[in-house]
Symmetry: D2
Subunit: 235 residues, 4 copies
């Protein structure tokens, strides 16, 4: 039973996508996220109040991505942050389990910078776990007939950089006090990207990515702990 209460404050959900990189003309993360800009979720009685999605585009640049994140956090004061990025070659919608404190660029970022083995945040913990209900998300997306899988590595490029920076911010006392949740989800190429690449690599239709992201937002707004379901990897 869902009902909006007069005057109930609207929770802000920040979804971030990235600008294109690695020679691509589009980035599926930004295409999907911007298509959800303004999406209003009604309150779910006993679970959460009404919410609205705000989409922001991040530069694919070490450092500048975190500045853009800071600006969006300051502007929106969101309750939930889901950062989204392109994982070319993956075949599924993949919530990330863990962000690691390292920048190690296999290629240059969009500003031409290629850091090697430097921490995202000097002196900070080696890793943070996502505070999204990653297994509930995987379960919900699969139940909707779309491929989803938990990932145990977000790489060491700007995606992991943004993810780590986000989790570091969410680990600070003020964010903890406010109960902010956040994490990162990697998504496959769009069909139009795969169509131009050798292989071709797997792809996921934009409408399917959008549907999966909606389910991820809904699952992340529910209170309580994550599912107790196996999502591990042998290696």
């Amino acid at each position: 039973m869902s009902e909006a209460v007069e005057g109930e404050p609207v929770m802000r959900v920040l979804l971030t996508g990235f600008e294109p990189f690695d020679g691509e003309a589009v980035n599926p993360s930004w295409e999907a996220v911007r298509a959800l800009q303004g999406w209003q979720l009604p309150a779910l009685a006993g679970q959460h109040g009404p919410a609205q999605v705000h989409a922001r585009r991040m530069p694919c640049v070490f450092g500048a991505a975190l500045q853009a994140l800071d600006a969006a956090l300051a502007e929106l004061q969101p309750s939930l942050v889901i950062a989204v990025g392109q994982a070319g070659g993956r075949s599924a919608f993949t919530p990330e389990r863990v962000a690691i404190n390292i920048d190690d660029g296999r290629i240059c970022d969009n500003a031409g910078c290629q850091p090697i083995d430097v921490p995202v945040v000097a002196g900070a913990p080696a890793a943070y776990f996502s505070s999204l209900p990653v297994k509930r998300i995987v379960q919900a997306v699969r139940a909707a007939g779309l491929p989803a899988e938990l990932s145990n590595t977000a790489g060491t490029f700007v995606c992991n950089h943004l993810f780590y920076g986000l989790m570091h911010r969410l680990a600070q006392p003020e964010a903890q006090r406010r109960g902010m949740r956040g994490g990162f989800i990697h998504i496959p190429y769009l069909p139009e990207q795969a169509a131009r690449l050798p292989g071709p690599p797997p792809a996921m239709a934009l409408a399917d990515v959008m549907a999966a992201l909606r389910l991820a937002v809904q699952a992340s707004l529910l209170p309580g702990a994550d599912l107790q379901a196996s999502g591990g990897a042998l290696h």
Copy 2:
């Protein structure tokens, strides 16, 4: 410029899909093909007359598939036949180049039969090449932003069996005289199938498969030779 001429005969296009096999609940080939049942293509001036799609479902059974094909050919007398089948694990829409004269079942067919190294048609040629404009199809599908690739093997299961049987029928004098064209296209899993499989394997949305099939039909109705474009494989 497209225009239907009064009284101009409507060409029949036969699209076949398969029933589910290998433990699956659906077969994307039948889902896509039946969704195109009745599709009417207007005449394309100077190129071809009006056409209409007829969808038929084939059993995933050696022998019986060819009987079903014969029944459909006799009933419809089509000008164009495109047989479609599921290629679980492929990431692209893949027109097949060649059918080979061998049945060699890695698994049992839906009637429990597993032939090993017997010819589809005893005494017939070792192989037939598709008479679809396979490279034109690949080009058209890619241009529409969907992954497509020429395949050089349709395997040795019921898909190749039907493909070979079809090409053998099209090689007979009466079919040659009538200018019948035909071939086979393999398609990826649907997302709802991939969502339940380990990996998961690549998938293609049903709407995208349908769009690609429409382009394949349109390309195949055009008169003339196939594109001169590289579509080869090193191995």
Copy 3:
């Protein structure tokens, strides 16, 4: 029980490998084949007489490869011919089932030529099946603890070109009368190649390729039909 009979003629086994192509410094097919040059197989009582391996290197050039093959056939008059080629990206030793009558270069050959959809031999059959006991070979190699698999496509590059040309020669009456057997086997990259490539792709150690080739030669010298064992592919 194996024993050489005084004066018994020695059967000649021709193994061909290719020169490097596609930017590689070595070709594993030639490395493996030349290492078997001169290998003498004793007679196997009741099965076959003594045999000796002759290795020849083929240019990776359409047309010239068949000229080199013709020269080797004329010189050696072999009873058995196994052509070997590199299949970069494959993980197993893969005897090929079928050669198709088409040249379609994805890249240029070593002479800069890139034929598109022309027959290997104009007017000849669409395909030939290998006359090697491909399933017996796969079984023997696996039993020795090495990955092997039947392949249903040799591609459309110089490997298939040589394979088709070989089988066309073996289909001629004189070769048929002499009972010549032949076919093609694709092999993975060597570890030293894979070490320099992104991914990296799978590899097979040279000693393992050589062991597998020895088993292939031994299996191919046995008289009689191939195994009745499933080796098919769904697509």
Copy 4:
């Protein structure tokens, strides 16, 4: 120039491998490690003293693996510990960058236990980075003509469990004071395993794994920091 100094203490190098799991009859990690048991490395003047390898087999069981590690550490007081594990499906020798504080079994361990999302060590850091020179190892193995790649996830099964437990022990003050180094390396299937699996998956010959492990030990004994070389992953 290498020379052993009379009376110079011999550094102990602990290599661990695992017992077989997941239905396999062998585990390549134990096969490779036990073949290096007793290997003596001479001193390298100005770099390190003489060293000797001690191989120990670990149970593929959560908890019990760490007890076995503790016993080996107490017995040997090693200067260097390299734990090795099977990563079925990988094509390269892959030093792991980071261990994460989570047990999440996709399958049961050899004692039938399948923990879900519990920490390896409650209250301990979310992750530890390897203290092996992982990039120097990758470079040395590739230079020897063998495929190697840095990995950013060791999974969430017993391999990561042992890796995390090892790094937690090495992070304690006494181990830090002694300058102990350690980490984890995942290796592919052996050819004999791949030969029995569908696909087949990539494999690496035992001799090649042993050669790579020797290089990893040598690189890890060198003093000083790791290479400044890109080894990152986009995702």
